[in-house]
Symmetry: C2
Subunit: 232 residues, 2 copies
């Protein structure tokens, strides 16, 4: 865990939450923030930890999961660059209820709790931006609850593949998903056992819906994949 990496992108990118800050607030954040580098597989925060502030993912990919029955993990969120982490617990005034792990090397920009509250109090647009983020996540979580409980294995897996595509996008070939997950992570995202993730992925491949090369997933029949997902 090294300090003071470059996270200029987080201040400049229009999708980033800091774009809502006033110039003098940006300066304040530049001075006060810290920037932390995490290696692949590093834990960023874990269940029961006390929230320290707002974390902005500058670079990399992160999974956020919760451990359930028999320590089995269920991924509740996937974070992409400029995504926010760790502040839900802060506002709910409780400790973290999930664990965040870097899926590849990541740079995270951290704003301390008190500084964050100061920014919110000074700038209602910034506050509304954070509310928007919470509201979007809540919508996602509610949709997910229903999909994971009601859809059958094939539907759940198809939905997860589409979700990964929507979140991380596609390579230049316009079909390869820009994230490489282990079969176990795919299973933990889709609420199934690893065996079933492997089995169902190869069924999809044999049906010509996707093609697999190692951890690389290529969507070869989007229409069919969407049909499988929506039919459940």
């Amino acid at each position: 865990m090294q300090k003071n990496f470059d996270c200029d992108k987080c201040f400049d990118a229009p999708e980033a939450i800091f774009s809502l800050l006033k110039p003098e607030q940006k300066e304040f954040v530049r001075e006060r923030h810290s920037c932390v580098f995490y290696k692949k597989n590093d834990v960023i925060f874990k269940e029961e930890d006390e929230p320290i502030g707002l974390l902005v993912l500058c670079d990399g990919k992160v999974k956020v999961f919760r451990e359930g029955v028999g320590r089995r993990e269920q991924i509740v969120r996937m974070v992409k660059p400029y995504g926010l982490m760790g502040f839900r617990a802060l506002f709910a005034e409780e400790n973290h209820i999930a664990t965040a792990v870097a899926l590849e090397d990541a740079i995270v920009c951290i704003i301390d709790k008190d500084d964050l509250m100061k920014l919110i109090r000074e700038n209602s647009d910034f506050a509304i931006g954070l509310m928007r983020s919470l509201a979007t996540d809540l919508g996602f979580s509610n949709r997910r609850t229903v999909a994971l409980t009601q859809k059958h294995i094939r539907g759940r897996l198809a939905e997860s593949i589409l979700f990964l595509k929507d979140t991380y996008g596609l390579e230049d070939d316009e079909s390869t998903i820009k994230i490489f997950l282990s079969r176990e992570d795919i299973a933990n995202l889709s609420n199934m056992t690893t065996s079933n993730a492997i089995r169902t992925l190869s069924t999809f491949a044999s049906e010509g819906v996707i093609s697999i090369t190692g951890r690389k997933i290529k969507i070869t029949d989007m229409k069919k994949l969407e049909r499988i997902s929506s039919l459940g």
Copy 2:
């Protein structure tokens, strides 16, 4: 749907969100709000509706559910007096993704979208209060996702019973849950079929964990119920 009922409680109760408003803001809300009465089984808002503002439940009980595969409904939230509804979609800038139905006669206090935004911009404590509500709901939803997907039927039903107890409380006898749901609603809350809800409830009764009289559920062995819930 009649207008102008009494919803003074929403302004006076310390648990209500309006307690965070400044005196002149309270006056503003008193003037501008509308108060609507819903009969049992009335739809308050439904999936795909455009959000109109912030809804505060002054009196009654409400279920919020989402329709999934084959129109099967999954209850994502239960609202009790002073609970908030309908503003998640507003902040996420999308239409409602769930339907709210009154489980018994209800009084709802409505603040228009623009008025709400004005209050938020003027008062950061109020904004933070709303953030807290979103953050708490998101935590609940994430916990729920994992519980509903990983626990077995008995665990899910036990958890739902405990959840209903925590949300609506107990009668004076300190064991009867203060809400009466149909078996179908209990099933939709616990992610199971109505048959299984009925079957498992009577198993619990025969095991002495609960006792049932019609729709009235009495918890007779709290420890055991908690054990069933946590073991999954």
